[in-house]
């Protein structure tokens, strides 16, 4: 029997972002199939697991840290992951998610849940996790090993990074694959 190579344990996480980065991940198309021969997707919005597992090799974190839940999850990811990647501009810079930083949190919630009738209404406030005063990029909450910018990052970039990591190579993107935006 052929020797079974240990598969890489890959997780993806969706914090304060629009899920566009995950869409871009899906846009890897057939490359995904190749990737999944080398890696197991152990956690993320694309799979069923309810709890972030232990001993994860690579985690792509989409989105900025905007509330206490994000912060707790980020800390949990850090303790259980070897390589944490800030995945997309929101995680790297705060990006659009952080545009609320210029507005006091109370004004913000007022505007969203009281002054206009949001689909879930004022009662949503009871179940919403507490918002941080300011949205922060992931690396201000936990140590980040790699930055993969883009809004969303082009599938090419994602492929280049994941391929290098899966192969155990250093990640060295050319300048035109490192731009924000």
């Amino acid at each position: 029997m052929a020797e079974t190579v240990k598969k890489i344990r890959l997780a993806t996480v969706w914090l304060g972002g629009c899920s566009g980065c995950h869409m871009s991940l899906l846009d890897l198309d057939e490359a995904l199939i190749d990737l999944l021969t080398r890696a197991d997707l152990v956690y993320g919005p694309l799979v069923d697991a309810k709890k972030y597992p232990e001993d994860v090799d690579i985690c792509l974190v989409e989105g900025a840290v905007t509330n206490v839940e994000n912060l707790e999850l980020a800390r949990h990811i850090r303790t259980n992951t070897r390589t944490v990647i800030s995945f997309g501009d929101c995680a790297v810079t705060g990006n659009v998610t952080s545009m609320r930083n210029r507005i006091p949190v109370s004004d913000l919630l007022n505007a969203v849940y009281h002054e206009v009738s949001a689909p879930i209404g004022p009662e949503a406030l009871k179940v919403l996790p507490a918002l941080l005063k300011k949205v922060i990029p992931l690396h201000q909450a936990i140590k980040v090993d790699l930055f993969l910018p883009g809004c969303p990052p082009h599938p090419e970039r994602i492929a280049a990074v994941l391929q290098a990591l899966v192969n155990g190579d250093d990640v060295d993107l050319p300048a035109d694959m490192r731009t924000f935006g």
């Binding site: 810079t93 659009v96 930083n101 210029r102 300048a175 924000f180 935006g181």
Partner: protein, 238 residues
């Protein structure tokens, strides 16, 4: 025209006498980052990205405001300078709200390109998230202070090339803002000639043509050389 020789990164090279060190370095095909510098405008030495090491000088010097000198020994890149350049870019990004993803100049922005080129992949300082406005009172152009890096190319081109001096700066330090006509809305400016030079020389999406959407604003700064050379050769006065 006399020629001088100097050493750049260990190579003996020649330059024109009176040439700026920046030009001399770039003439050697070495890429030296700049943001406030623009060929054709007066030099300013404010962005601090073109700092280089010159033997015999205790401090790093901006290449743009330094005249190349006979026998100078210059180092344009080393670990320290590279690190400092990155840190300076980080500070520039932290200062205002450069949300590249939703910028008219996305993918055509000098700041964005430089960050990628210099490997500035994240900002370790607190984003300041200032409350800044956008002035779209002008019929043709707009200014988005969120994206302004205070390079003052607009101020200089308006003063030195167009001769209108519509642009200037108010306040100081972190509170500095570019203003039109003693801080009146751009649309009410009496001195603005609507020439659009400021928009073209702006390195970011701070100045833009109205109606542009994300990533649509492409700027051309090469017009400046053409105008200035033409002026010098008296091409416009036939």
């Amino acid at each position: 025209m006399s020629v001088i020789t100097l050493t750049i990164n260990g190579e003996l090279v020649s330059a024109r006498s009176g040439q700026s060190l920046l030009e001399a370095i770039r003439d050697q095909g070495i890429s030296l980052p700049t943001l406030c510098y623009l060929d054709g405008l007066s030099t300013r030495g404010g962005c601090r990205l073109c700092l280089v090491e010159i033997s015999g000088q205790a401090r790093l010097q901006p290449a743009c405001t330094t005249t190349a000198g006979e026998g100078m020994v210059v180092v344009t890149h080393n670990d320290k300078i590279n690190r400092y350049r990155k840190m300076i870019l980080e500070l520039t990004f932290a200062e205002r709200n450069h949300t590249c993803a939703v910028c008219v100049s996305n993918e055509h922005c000098e700041l964005q390109t430089l960050a990628a080129e210099l490997g500035m992949d994240h900002v370790r300082y607190d984003y300041l998230n200032p409350q800044l406005g956008i002035d779209i009172s002008h019929e043709k152009y707009g200014v988005d202070h969120n994206r302004c890096i205070l390079c003052l190319r607009c101020v200089r081109v308006c003063d030195e090339v167009e001769g209108a001096h519509t642009w200037d700066v108010r306040h100081r330090g972190i509170a500095s803002r570019v203003i039109t006509d003693l801080n009146r809305p751009w649309g009410e400016s009496e001195s603005c000639t609507e020439c659009g030079k400021c928009v073209e020389v702006c390195p970011t999406g701070a100045l833009f043509d109205k109606g542009m959407s994300v990533g649509e604003m492409k700027k051309k700064t090469n017009f400046l050389r053409r105008i200035l050379d033409g002026r010098e050769k008296n091409q416009w006065n036939r």
